[in-house]
Amino acid sequence: MKKYPILDKKDTRSGFGAGLLELGRKNPDVVALCADLTGSLKMDAFEKEFPDRFFQIGIAEANMMGIAAGLTIGGKIPFTGTFANFSTGRVYDQIRQSIAYSHKNVKICASHAGVTLGEDGATHQILEDLGMMRMLPGMVVINPCDYNQTKAATLAIAEHHGPVYLRFGRPVVPNFTSPDQKFEIGKALMLSEGTDVSIFATGHLVWKALEACEALEAKGISAEVINIHTIKPLDVDAVLKSVRKTGCVVSAEEHQRNGGLGDAIAQVLTQHYPVPQEYVAVNDSFGESGTPEQLMVKYGLDANDIIKAAERVLKRRGEMVNA
């Protein structure tokens, strides 16, 4: 398999902060809004350098979404920042009516997604956000895998006209993608070619998928790892090209089984090329307090879970072939 050396370890939210600052320097229309989480979202550098283009909204996320929608009228490109929970579930109707239905050019940037938020517990660990955002007509949904890719995605979404949900996280994780990558919305990235099983992963699970791929290789299983950083629009061609070769699928995401990447892929498979699929995702449950590493293991989101899922799905494929 193709090896990816760890360049360093960083949090994806810092990639967002760095990207936002660069955007601020490049594009005078970019403005930023935050609901009392400037430090957590790493938006402080932007605030310091562009105080006139930064809006501290206070703890009022609904108002923030509405103000962002209004800022677009006259040509600004607003980036809202708060935790993923408060970026989606808390403000779903504001996003739906004032942003998505009104087709406003707002970039909803959401940190601390999923169980890797850690010790704060289930109240803050949203695992339903991808599903909610995927369902909104016209919404682009992006979940990059590391610092460099989050930075590149932040830059790219400013060039896209229309609402975008950009999801990233809190923990420090391996940074392994290229610092000068060009981020193409909706274009899946082939990380490692294989022939036995397709592993489609997003966000923090991409690195776990590479770890799993290496372990599978040692067991004589050739896994293909594809980074689905854009969940909507999904790269249907890349998904189908891979499954036509392998004939079975593992999807991996830090999200509920319901509504996330796995369901997006299942929809493609049932319509175009039905093959067995296994989900690595949270199984209809809320999270809890703990370290990110402990939680990833407890909730079945570790490299080991991907390995087991790959073995299960290969067995199912074999049974189907032999049936």
Partner: protein
């Protein structure tokens, strides 16, 4: 711009005819609040707002108007058509399949004059603040107006917005609250008696003025006063007293015509009370 008060009143009469005919034709929609705000909308679009000749979403170099209580779309559609945003004939399509005149206003069907969808209450003031901030960033000397309902004041987001605009001195923003005292389930006093609006807005740093929303002279005078109060480090809110159903006697003095359409017989009675001044659509 129409400065003749009598002419404005004549336009408002036609707008009221449009409203009752529109809701009757599709047997749905919200005549009560629409009739109550007919004078205000007429004053805004024929006198108060500085508008460009051609509608553009970005609205550069012109005043912007947002309707937060989107259910009173009939009055807005009528006034938009009567002031030239689209052909008045299109009013006949209100709430019908494939129409641009959706039950609640939307940008989705490309209707000139509308810059954000509204209907789910409480969101418009926030959007108006955002648009006002962009006006400031673009160094435009233009104003942003937003109409909300008094029942709508029960939505929490309104107060997030009120708090923000006051605290951040959004002084190119004029909010207008339609104080008709009615909402779907009854009077505001019956549903949720939330007390005086004036001290609430004042405590958040707004300049508060009163207006008789069914008196054209007073509307022109007070809205001009509101304009003169902008640019003074605080947002302005106009508490606009109106009568739900104004102009049609059997629709007045009650919440019952909030969201009910008149039947053919009731329409006839209503139209007899409203002079046809500009020709029905």
């Amino acid at each position: 711009m129409t400065t003749d008060i009598n002419e404005l009143k004549r336009i408002a009469s036609q707008v009221r005819r449009d409203i009752v005919r529109m809701v009757n034709a599709c047997n749905s929609g919200h005549p009560g609040g629409s009739l109550g705000c007919a004078d205000f909308f007429t004053a805004m679009y024929f006198n108060i707002l500085r508008k460009n000749d051609k509608f553009e979403m970005n609205g550069k170099g012109e005043d912007l108007f947002f309707l937060s209580n989107g259910h009173i779309s009939p009055v807005w559609y009528s006034v938009l058509a009567r002031s030239g945003f689209f052909d008045v004939k299109e009013l006949a399509t209100f709430r019908r399949i494939n129409t641009r005149l959706q039950g609640h206003p939307t940008t989705h069907e490309g209707l000139d004059g509308i810059r954000v969808a509204s209907g789910s209450l409480g969101q418009g003031l926030s959007v108006a603040i955002g648009a006002a901030l962009t006006k400031k960033l673009n160094k435009e000397d233009c104003l942003v107006y937003c109409l909300c309902g008094d029942g709508e004041m029960e939505e929490g987001q309104v107060w997030e917005a009120a708090m923000y605009a006051g605290a951040k001195k959004t002084d190119n923003l004029i909010a207008v609250i339609d104080v008709n005292g009615q909402q779907i389930d009854g009077s505001v006093e019956h549903v949720l008696p939330y007390g005086d609006l004036r001290p609430k807005f004042e405590s958040f740093g707004w300049k508060v003025i009163d207006m008789d929303g069914n008196n054209m002279e007073n509307i022109i005078q007070i809205m001009n006063e509101a304009k003169s109060l902008t640019g003074k480090k605080q947002p302005v809110v106009v508490l606009m007293k109106t009568e739900m159903g104004q102009g049609v006697d059997f629709m007045m003095g009650s919440h019952k015509w909030h969201g009910v359409a008149p039947n053919a017989e009731q329409l006839k009675v209503a139209l007899n009370q409203l002079e046809e001044t500009l020709g029905d659509y």
